[in-house]
Symmetry: C2
Subunit: 190 residues, 2 copies
DNA sequence: CAATTCTCGTTAGCTGCCTAACTATTCGCC
DNA sequence: GGCGAATAGTTAGGCAGCTAACGAGAATTG
């Protein structure tokens, strides 16, 4: 998530001071938020850099993983539709078209028309794609393990628990704070 | 961070099972990693959606914040160079050129040549930019507070502490796991 | 059955982000 | 003082993400 976030996170005292000017500013909440985005971004960059060594992007890697997970689960060679891939990876279908284009160009994936529904396509991992994935995965796993090494096992459990709380809140569509303007509120009500 | 990550995080048992096939896979580390990226992404999307209501992107917002923070700290109207902005926001200078282009087009920021060094430019918040920022900030702060509401004050401290540990590890350039191929290792050694 | 409606995949056009190369200017050093 | 090295900003080209609009095909429904 190449997200533009302040690189040097503000110290807590600064947040505290700013909260005097802005009563809406919750210093501890802001601190957590900034740390969360910053850390997520940095972790992302670490694996992104590794994947780049194999000439593959995070997006492409996710598609390969989704396809491969599908294989593993259902015997063998079960292809997926672009729409299914988009849902699983949390990206729009238009974006998935581009990703599959790139992967197909590189020979890691194959497109074929669905025999039963002529609107649909199927996307399938090629053997080249599977080989590439198997070459990447060990180091990828090592990287994640290395990244989390500073955390003890109980700390990991705690971290997951707290993150899950935030994730649950982020997923709520109801009860969000007011979107600031009456116009936005009207439009935003979908 | 529009990052393509699996939307439905794998259950722990699946990770455990996969670790039998891949000894490098550390289930708890992987679980933390996936949760971190997913939660960071979701939190990012929440504020991004809010900023979009004000016709501004996360990138543009970060630039305005950096400029405004500069104002606050140093009396008044202290401009910053594009390079300084790039450093503060963790983006390349080429990217900053584009961001400032957009902000200048929208009249939120003004470029002027530096009088002492003709290579340099200065970027300054316009009054329109400052007004816009002040209009956005209250709801922005409310949003962060709302997002973190499920966490108690001690939980927030804990979360920040654990995230900081991971962030520190991610920042280490030494001792990363082997990049899988000798070629990559040679190149990666910069 | 015909007409509407829905779904799937793609295209077009925008933004943000990157790297690499380029220009202009300043700095360091002999 | 003049020449090479370093630095500031931009440009060019690429990828990934988005929305909106489209055409082809399937499903629903009168």
């Amino acid at each position: 998530m190449p997200l533009l976030m302040l690189k040097d996170l503000p110290r807590y005292e600064c947040l505290l001071e700013a909260s005097r000017e802005f009563p809406e500013l919750d210093p501890s909440a802001t601190e957590v938020f900034l740390n969360l985005l910053r850390t997520g971004d940095e972790a992302f960059r670490v694996v992104e850099a590794h994947l780049a060594q194999h000439d593959i992007t995070q997006g492409g890697f996710s598609v390969l993983m989704a396809l491969w997970g599908q294989c593993q689960r259902a015997g063998r060679e079960l292809p997926l539709s672009p729409a299914g891939l988009a849902d699983r990876t949390g990206v729009t279908r238009a974006t998935m078209t581009g990703l599959v284009d790139t992967l197909e160009r590189d020979g890691l994936v194959r497109r074929a028309p669905d025999p039963t529904d002529r609107r649909m396509m199927t996307v399938q991992l090629t053997s080249r794609g599977e080989r590439k994935l198997l070459k990447i995965l060990p180091a990828h796993f090592r990287q994640m393990a290395w990244l989390m090494e500073p955390l003890s096992e109980p700390e990991r459990k705690t971290l997951v628990r707290l993150l899950t709380k935030v994730l649950g809140r982020a997923g709520e569509t109801e009860g969000r704070p007011a979107p600031a303007t009456a116009l936005a509120a009207t439009i935003g009500a979908r």
